[in-house]
């Protein structure tokens, strides 16, 4: 085993782990005084990791990927693409976080450290090519997420969210683990490659149960219907920056993990899981759209929106083709800034007293009081609704195009028709902000950090984003290709 190569390939994870451990010591010694400094250091570490992942992604000599640590871990374009997204999303969330907690005097150095460990866990999830590596990564990420959800320790809703997330998350982990044990039992190995070879020859019913259990557990992690019930509650209860995080980075990691799982070890049996994924996709689109209609809390609405988006992402996976995988990656790349931007806008809505505002009533007539903010939200909401010429349309475009190319015309037609239902509540944002008369008081200024994140995401989602499509398409094609190369 070539350790030098293994370390080289896992450089980002190793650096992040070390940074996390060192910063943990710093926080332990200095306490809350250095919380800000630790955050900045964590952002720097994540930037370094993102740079490293980007470097490996663009380095053509690794275009086909390579194994590390004797086949426990795989470095390829697919993993690096996902990692890049994960790191950038985590950075964005860290940038907009401190102010939220500062208002309550509850910002602590543990927060960025938990984010760092979470990022390490997520990186392992997307790179794992062995069931054991996968599970360790998944748990590392999940456990830090549980803590993050309940980070507002004396807030009832936050604690509730953390507890709910923990119990249901643990249940899902158990289901995954049980599925894995079945898969291991029938395949005789935990390595993806071995599993694929064994299943290609012989796929007994018991193994099918294993696959279904694993997929069900993963569906929980990505909040796909019918395992989505926890999402609105956790998203509503968790502190808003943490919700922004849950809706972005872990979702990318879980989707990427699901894709690798479905296409690599179970790739030879795509018939077995395709119908499950198709059902989950359509159900997520419909439930995500209908569920949001009656909500008044914006965080709940955005939670349903993320369920809705997972449905579109799964359509890309349901095709089981390289074009579909590439489309899914493009969708994720568009989804992340779109959702982080929306949550950032939400963070910028505060009463003059600093109280966070999070219902439709609070944003009435926003366009006359905070015109630029309202304009950014307008762009993001039309983008989420998938209306051209905004960039969110492109995500749906590539996904549905892949579905049609894979001859799933009926799936595409039903999916896109259901997306119109979703447009209804995105329009509600516009209606409330632009058509209604203003009501109540609003804080009139926001910090530069929030503006930066919001404006960057709004510009990316504006028609200017289309200029990125050739580059994004090439990189995603290459990343998807590396995933299929191994197969």
């Amino acid at each position: 085993m070539d350790y030098a190569a293994s370390f080289y390939f896992t450089g980002a994870e190793i650096a992040l782990s070390l940074a996390g451990l060192v910063l943990l010591l710093v926080v332990a010694w200095t306490g809350e005084r250095t919380a800000r400094a630790v955050t900045i250091a964590a952002v720097a570490a994540l930037f370094g990791a993102a740079f490293w992942a980007g470097h490996l992604l663009l380095d053509q000599s690794f275009a086909l990927g390579a194994d590390a640590f004797g086949g426990l871990y795989r470095m390829d374009g697919f993993a690096n693409f996902a990692k890049l997204l994960i790191y950038l999303a985590t950075i964005a969330v860290l940038i907009v976080t401190p102010r939220f907690f500062d208002a309550r005097g509850q910002y602590r150095g543990e927060y960025p450290i938990l984010m760092l460990f979470n990022a390490v866990g997520m990186s392992m999830m997307v790179s794992a090519v062995d069931l054991m590596t996968l599970y360790i990564g998944l748990e590392l990420s999940s456990l830090s997420s549980y803590v993050l959800a309940s980070f507002l320790r004396n807030d009832m809703r936050s604690s509730e969210a953390g507890l709910k997330y923990f119990i249901l998350g643990a249940l899902a982990s158990g289901i995954i683990l049980y599925g894995m044990s079945l898969v291991y039992g029938f395949a005789g190995s935990t390595q993806y490659e071995r599993i694929r070879l064994v299943f290609a020859e012989d796929f007994p019913t018991g193994a099918l149960f294993g696959v279904v259990f694993v997929l069900a557990g993963l569906a929980f992690k990505i909040a796909a219907v019918p395992f989505h019930m926890w999402t609105p509650d956790v998203y509503e209860g968790a502190p808003t920056p943490v919700t922004a995080f849950f809706a972005s980075a872990p979702k990318v990691a879980a989707v990427a993990m699901l894709m690798r799982m479905a296409l690599d070890p179970f790739g030879s049996q795509s018939d077995a899981w395709q119908q499950i994924v198709i059902f989950a996709a359509l159900a997520s689109i419909v439930v995500g759209a209908l569920g949001a209609i009656g909500q008044n809390n914006l965080k709940r609405v955005l939670a349903y929106s993320s369920i809705n988006n997972v449905g579109f992402i799964l359509i890309g996976l349901a095709t089981a083709t390289p074009a579909g995988a590439s489309a899914t990656l493009v969708y994720l790349a568009i989804y992340v800034p779109m959702t982080i931007g929306s949550f950032t806008a939400l963070l910028m809505l505060r009463a003059p007293t600093g109280e966070p505002l999070e219902t439709f009533d609070d944003i009435r007539g926003l366009s006359t009081r905070r015109p630029v903010l309202a304009l950014c939200v307008l762009v993001l909401m039309f983008s989420l609704a998938g209306i051209p010429p905004l960039f969110g349309f492109w995500g749906k475009f590539v996904v549905f195009q892949a579905a049609v190319q894979a001859d799933l015309v009926a799936l595409a037609a039903i999916g896109i028709a259901a997306s119109v239902i979703g447009a209804f509540y995105y329009l509600k944002f516009i209606k409330v902000m632009f058509f209604d008369e203003p009501e109540g008081q609003l804080e009139t200024s926001s910090p530069v950090s929030h503006w930066a994140v919001l404006v960057i995401s709004a510009v990316l989602m504006s028609p200017l984003g289309y200029l990125l499509t050739p580059m994004l398409g090439d990189v995603a094609d290459q990343a998807a290709g590396s995933l299929f190369f191994a197969i």
């Binding site: 209306i387 195009q401 058509f435 050739p470 994004l472």
Partner: protein, 519 residues
């Protein structure tokens, strides 16, 4: 590749639109007017330089800056005429909103200019997906225009407008994916020559129909239109009736007919049937309206039914008539909405009963209103006559019954328009406030006179408008020839009788030929 005039026409309103967001009301108005006038001038330059009888696609531009589709622009005669209609109506719309819009003027002008960019983009796009993007994107500014500056029930109308048209369009996108997958290109001119398997055409046609029928709008999916028209501000109604409704007709003539000729022929019965129902049904509804804008909105549906009838006649007259009908209706119904706007601005009501006898205190206004009423009915000398005559002549070759019903609709059209005019302009001045209203201002003159001139021009010398389209319509007719449906009258060419009817017979002595020689 020459000077990118089409891109420039898109760029000018786009830049002005962004600028308007940051300007105060007064400057924004000026900037918007200036930008639309520049676009009008560019449009005239475009028309002047359009080579009639030259290449089918002119002023083409192409840049492969996107993945999956390209930025490809170009126009033919059909697109040219619709572009002219758009750039002509835009300055009028800006003028119409000059005083009546007094809050959030900058945003209003920005939305309008964005609307212009997107409408022009639809007519210019030479790439299937670029077309779709422009086509769909138009929903956003229109949604805002209705929702922010509309009437009392604007929220309902804006939602209905948006969701109705969105649902219609998304299925078209799936059909486009299928087509591009099958044909391997997104280039519209290439796709117009591509022969899809007839089996698939049926489905593709239906998907496109779902979109264009809603945009058009055809009965029974027209119900969004009266709501949207009534609630939109005057200029919004003008642009909605003038240009947005034409997107549906343009879609049929650019996509459904040339790309799926077999399926189009297969569904002639459906389109003609819906058109017949629409023209009678909506005319009857229009007769009983008490709201002026609603009345004109229903009359739009009836006129659009004649367009669909003409388009699916599969012959040159039908297609030409439909195109002229679209142009004529764009001008006339736009002008009628302006006329309503003029008195709405004074009295702030659209109730017909609140007016009466306006010919007494507003004689000049009454004259214009009468002119456009007549043009809507189709009086000879106005554009409406040419449009109705030519398109019905086309339909007659396919279905005499449809022609009968559609013509009845025109008679009903005369009924409801004259009835409207009588109640508003003639009779006693029963409402004092209406009787005190002043006549047209200079600004209103400037709005109405150019449209009047255009309507007369199109009515007296329609050749100017038909000439650029002739070659394109002939090409389309040739493409459709293979599937054109047979007419229902089936005129038989008999053997000519040996003699004329008044031939007296053989009583005259000798052979007629001999007689003739003898004289």
């Amino acid at each position: 590749m020459g000077f990118p005039i089409l891109s420039l026409m898109l760029l000018v309103p786009l830049v002005a639109s962004i600028a308007c967001l940051f300007l105060d009301g007064k400057t924004a108005r000026m900037v918007a007017l200036l930008a639309t006038l520049i676009d009008l001038v560019l449009g005239i330059v475009l028309w002047a330089n359009y080579d009639i009888g030259g290449a089918q696609w002119q002023f083409t531009e192409r840049a492969d800056i996107f993945a999956g589709f390209s930025y490809a622009l170009g126009i033919d005669g059909i697109a040219l005429m619709l572009i002219m209609l758009s750039v002509f109506l835009m300055p009028v719309c800006i003028l119409a909103s000059w005083d009546s819009i007094d809050r959030r003027v900058g945003e209003y002008m920005a939305a309008f200019l964005l609307m212009e960019v997107l409408m022009l983009g639809v007519f210019m796009a030479q790439d299937l997906f670029l077309f779709y993007i422009f086509f769909e994107a138009g929903l956003i500014p229109m949604y805002l225009i209705i929702g922010i500056w509309g009437g009392d029930n604007r929220i309902y109308a804006s939602y209905k407008f948006f969701l109705y048209t969105l649902l219609g369009s998304v299925l078209m996108l799936i059909a486009m994916f299928w087509m591009v997958n099958a044909a391997g290109t997104t280039d519209i001119p290439t796709l117009m020559q591509y022969d899809f398997p007839p089996q698939a055409q049926t489905w593709l046609w239906l998907a496109f129909f779902a979109s264009f029928a809603v945009k058009m709008p055809m009965w029974p999916v027209h119900t969004w239109l009266p709501d949207a028209h009534v609630q939109a501000p005057t200029a919004g109604s003008v642009i909605l009736a003038g240009v947005l409704l034409k997107l549906g007709g343009y879609g049929f003539i650019r996509f459904s007919l040339p790309m799926f000729p077999e399926a189009s022929a297969q569904f002639v019965w459906l389109v003609l049937g819906l058109s017949m129902v629409a023209v009678i049904y909506t005319s009857l509804i229009a007769l009983v309206q008490s709201d002026m804008k609603k009345l004109i909105a229903y009359s739009s549906v009836a006129h659009m039914a004649i367009v669909t009838g003409g388009l699916f006649a599969f012959n040159v007259q039908g297609l030409e008539g439909a195109m002229i009908m679209m142009l004529s209706h764009g001008l006339v119904s736009g002008a009628l909405f302006l006329c309503v706007g003029v008195i709405y601005d004074r009295l702030h009501t659209r109730e017909i009963d609140r007016y009466g006898g306006l010919a007494i205190n507003m004689p000049r206004y009454a004259l214009f209103f009468l002119f456009f009423t007549m043009a809507s009915i189709g009086l000879p000398g106005t554009s409406g006559f040419v449009a109705e005559f030519v398109s019905l002549a086309g339909v007659y070759q396919v279905s005499t019954w449809a022609t009968l019903v559609l013509t009845t609709g025109i008679i009903l059209g005369a009924a409801y328009m004259l009835y409207l005019y009588r109640r508003v302009a003639f009779g006693v001045q029963k409402n004092e406030d209406a009787a005190r209203m002043p006549d047209l201002t200079a600004r209103e003159w400037i709005m109405l006179v150019p449209i009047t001139a255009a309507v007369l021009w199109m009515g007296i010398y329609p050749e100017s408008f038909m000439a650029p389209m002739r070659q394109d319509i002939a090409a389309l007719d040739a493409r459709l020839a293979r599937s054109a449906p047979e007419g229902d009258s089936r005129p038989q060419v008999g053997t000519p009788a040996a003699h004329a009817a008044n031939f007296v017979g053989g009583d005259h002595a000798g052979s007629p030929a001999g007689e003739g020689e003898a004289h």
